[in-house]
């Protein structure tokens, strides 16, 4: 390789003297947007960019499947608050990104996906590895575009990053035909973008804030539902002040976890399908719901007509299309969560709700965390509770999708934002390991735990190789119950215990860890849990623990899909019945 003999291309704002290949301009534009890390996988149609890559101060992480590149970019974005970047070749590379892009769309995560495309001369001719990736991702991107000439590279990439991170964040895909990468040109200087159709409302309307304040003042049993928007807009401090001043309790959505400290006396923990009973009961009895940066997802509301039947609704969200989508909203407030809370704080004087708070406290029942079940088998909830205790709740925790996700959401009590990383809207299995990878790259100082199921981990465990290559401080905790547990739970409860295709086998994870050069242990008894967790924490770098747990444990409480709070099932009720 002749790397040393070539001159390092310049990335400054000074005008360039010589035209450069589009591939270089792409990387220069990325560097200019502050990109330090790309999760990607090479291939023919993106090869010129890979050819130029070694000359730029960008750390490229070679994943083992493009889906993981998108998930890792997502985890990176959630852990750092920056835009995550993934890159893939055309055709199969691009289509492999799709699940990760859809995930970022559903959860409002700023990622930019760069894809190579076949040369423009053969676009539309079913050329080798051609797919219409902008067509495919139309409904799952905030915006996507094809760069059609070398001059468009700078503006297109600037626009992509701006759109990804502003307003309601989301994924943006930039498709770059190979001929554009191979044409010489100049990088247009960064300039003001003229986007007449794009003007997110940041500062809410005063009149709506006053109307909201009026309802808040009059409410006797108010409740805040805090969602991901709190974390995205960095509104935690304002939310704490607002809750304290008004003495209004706060329930969190799955993605709102960490947006309000779990240890705060006003925190009710998670709401919704597997939310804490007292939190859901509070919704049921509330006379005012203040939804902030959340979207009344059906996993939160159950049957909308019976959700919070006695409550009026204030809904604060940056996306006007979310307001009134599910529930009749009395006061819509369009704007950034933090700005809205700031304005509300100006309007509202201290309030008291002692009776209401003590009523909610009286409903509280802890989630069960006994070490072992009937036959002395290890209980999964105990594992999460110990993980929380031993890491003092300070680790970054990513999860996959399923029962372990819900137990972690219930029991890993996060106190700060960007600590909890989980696939909410899409519920994409395979998310846990690669998102942990992204988080660990973005926050190298952090201890990262990926809590995953034996089903989900098998979707992306190829990334163990990436974790080991990069020597990431990722500890993988596999909660092995021998089932696609959450689906088995539904089969048990709603399909007459017909466990159709939910028992799932696993490889020997300890041997597998060794095969990937990843220190690994297996835990089968409660007495071994603490020691194993401490072992994994005793060194920097990858580690794997397989926790073999009670196979037929269920997540409770549970409000069945489309049900209401009245339909809640909890474990005390179940024990007698089954």
């Amino acid at each position: 390789m002749a790397i040393e003999t070539r001159e390092r291309p310049r990335v400054s704002e000074e005008p360039q003297r010589e035209p450069q290949l589009g591939a270089h301009l792409v990387l220069q534009a990325l560097v200019r947007e502050g990109v330090e890390v790309i999760f990607g996988y090479p291939g023919g149609a993106i090869l010129p960019v890979y050819d130029a890559l070694p000359y730029y101060p960008i750390h490229h992480v070679l994943v083992r499947h493009e889906q993981s590149a998108a998930f890792a970019a997502d985890g990176y974005a959630r852990a750092t608050g920056k835009v995550g970047v993934c890159m893939a070749t055309s055709g199969p590379g691009a289509t492999n990104l799709v699940t990760g892009i859809a995930n970022a769309m559903m959860d409002s995560i700023p990622i930019v996906a760069i894809t190579g495309q076949v040369p423009q001369s053969v676009i539309g001719m079913d050329a080798f590895q051609e797919t219409d990736i902008t067509g495919i991702t139309l409904p799952i991107t905030k915006y996507n575009l094809v760069i059609r000439s070398v001059d468009e590279i700078g503006p297109a990439i600037q626009k992509a990053f701006y759109l990804a991170r502003t307003g309601r964040p989301g994924p943006v895909l930039v498709d770059i035909p190979k001929d554009v990468q191979l044409t010489k040109g100049f990088l247009a200087p960064r300039q003001e973008l003229n986007l007449p159709g794009y003007r997110p409302t940041i500062v809410p309307h005063r009149r709506q804030i006053r109307r909201a304040a009026e309802l808040i003042r009059r409410a006797e049993r108010p409740l805040i539902l805090a969602g991901h928007g709190i974390i995205i807009s960095g509104a935690t401090e304002e939310l704490v002040r607002f809750a304290e001043r008004t003495q209004i309790p706060v329930g969190l959505t799955l993605l709102g976890i960490g947006g309000f400290p779990a240890s705060h006396p006003l925190c009710l923990g998670m709401v919704g399908m597997h939310g804490h009973a007292h939190a859901n009961r509070a919704i049921h009895e509330a006379d005012l719901i203040i939804g902030i940066g959340m979207r009344f997802d059906d996993r939160v509301t159950g049957r909308p007509s019976e959700f919070a039947p006695n409550a009026r609704i204030i809904h604060i969200d940056i996306d006007p299309a979310e307001i009134g989508k599910v529930l009749k909203t009395e006061v819509p407030v369009v704007g950034d969560a933090r700005e809205a809370l700031r304005l509300l704080l100006e309007e509202i004087e201290p309030l008291e709700h002692e009776d209401w708070l003590s009523q909610i406290r009286s409903w509280y029942r802890p989630i069960r965390t006994e070490p072992s079940g009937p036959d002395g088998v290890l209980q999964p909830q105990y594992v999460i509770a110990r993980l929380h205790a031993l890491t003092e709740g300070k680790a970054i925790v990513t999860t996959d999708v399923g029962q372990h996700q819900m137990w972690t959401a219930q029991l890993y009590r996060c106190d700060i934002p960007k600590q909890w990383i989980s696939s909410g809207g899409l519920g994409a299995m395979g998310f846990g390991v690669p998102s942990a990878m992204g988080a660990a790259i973005g926050r190298p100082e952090a201890e990262v735990w990926a809590v995953v199921g034996d089903g989900g981990v098998q979707m992306t465990l190829n990334e163990f190789a990436t974790i080991v290559d990069e020597q990431l401080n990722v500890k993988v905790a596999i909660i092995n119950n021998g089932y696609l547990g959450m689906v088995r739970q539904w089969q048990q409860l709603f399909h007459n215990r017909n466990y159709s295709e939910t028992p799932i086998s696993s490889p020997d994870y300890v041997l597998l860890g060794q095969a990937y050069r990843m220190p690994a242990r297996r835990v089968t008894r409660p007495g071994e849990v603490d020691e194993a967790i401490q072992w994994a924490r005793s060194f920097r770098g990858p580690a794997l623990i397989e926790f073999v747990v009670n196979q037929e444990e269920n997540v409770y409480p549970m409000i069945p899909s489309g049900g209401s709070f009245r339909d809640m099932i909890d474990d005390t009720q179940i024990e007698g019945e089954w």
Binding site: L138, P139, L163, L195, Y198
Partner: protein
Amino acid sequence: MVTVRSHTLVVLVEDKPGVMNRIVSLFRQRGFNIDSIAVGHSETPGLSRITLVAQGDDRKIEQLVKQLYKILEVIKITDVTDDNPIQRELALIKVTATERNRSDIIRLVTDVYQARIVDATPDSLVIEVTGSPEKVDSLITMVRSYGIKEIARSGVIAMARGARVVAPAAQPVVA
């Protein structure tokens, strides 16, 4: 009560490739059937005006409008349904004509509907009609008995009456 009715939306968009696709795709994704869509240049260079007619209940259409606003190139959307807008459609209708009924058809079309005959052959006539969709429907009904060979309709275009215009906000916001 949810009442489904026909809504007429006037949408001002940037004239860029893929915009129509984004709009139509949004209707498809949300299960709306588009009755008519017509697009052409507007008074402002670089902007196109689309007239869209779709069925839906008011709440769903309102939701749809909010979603449409999320498309980057969409500048302005107005639901003109309740404004009694001027609505026009152009249609070309090719009918079978014989020696015997030719003059009947011509009289009907020109006297009653103020439409025009724009082409004639020994056994056919092409009628050009502009007007409200109802007028076009009515003409089609009337000539059906003669035998219709072909119909091409342009889709509806609409405009609010009086001084009201569907125009972009005065100040384009620069990011």
